[in-house]
């Protein structure tokens, strides 16, 4: 960068930029990655409470099985599978597969469909296990 650092071109102009499917998916990958940390933290607490003993586990279990607890778990699940599929797509890009506007557009839809399918599948597994 030999340019004057005060005077570089400003791009994109976020305030007038029309959001597109691909750019939204891109930034969502980043956001889900950041948010997933809190799901991970919850998981760590869960296992920690289990290691302390039944009393603390029961308390924590009641917390994550409350309505709010379940909503947080559901949110983490959605974020995980979304990040999973966009992550896999990133890995394909990294080895040079799937570039080109048409392919990117198609794989964006594929990512969304795959994410929704896997969320439903995991919920079914959870519900139908006795």
């Amino acid at each position: 960068m030999t340019q004057d650092p005060q005077n570089r071109p400003l791009s994109p102009h976020l305030t007038i930029y029309r959001p597109q499917l691909n750019s939204v998916l891109s930034i969502m990958h980043r956001i889900t990655g950041i948010v997933l940390f809190f799901g991970l933290l919850l998981l760590i607490f869960w296992f920690f409470s289990m290691s302390v003993g039944q009393a603390s586990f029961d308390l924590f279990s009641a917390l994550i099985n409350s309505l709010i607890g379940k909503l947080i778990l559901l949110g983490s699940l959605c974020a995980l599978w979304y990040h999973f599929f966009t992550g896999v797509r990133h890995l394909f890009w990294d080895v040079g597969i799937g570039f080109g506007l048409e392919w990117v557009q198609r794989s964006s839809y594929a990512v969304l469909i795959a994410t929704i399918s896997l969320i439903i599948l995991t919920l079914l597994i959870g519900v139908f296990t006795v």
Partner: protein, 127 residues
Amino acid sequence: MIFRSLKGLRGQSHKGVESTNHWIIQRFTSILLIPLSILFVVNFVRVFDKPFIEVLKTFQHPVNNLVALLFILISLWHYRQGIEVVIEDYVHDLGKRNLTLRLIGIMCWFLVIVVIFSFVTIYRMEI
């Protein structure tokens, strides 16, 4: 190299090799997380609302115990790598950036200790 922040990314002493290693290890943890997340989530959604004894028995099984442990540890490692890139993109002040990176490093290491302690205790618990 494992789970260590890359000094070259921390200051002005950029070294291409270290950045490349960071990139390669980020792909490595991503690939590991593909099978681990599927295996772990399938286990988790089946037991998360069950009573203590049942959950304990599930995670005392050596395979389940190892899958859960690896999923959490590798997620932590992967998160640390990912969040480093995010912070490098948004925190431009080098002093603040280094401080944030260091705090996140300490937090991750603390969590690693908690996780290993928990899993060993769970594995050895008598019912």
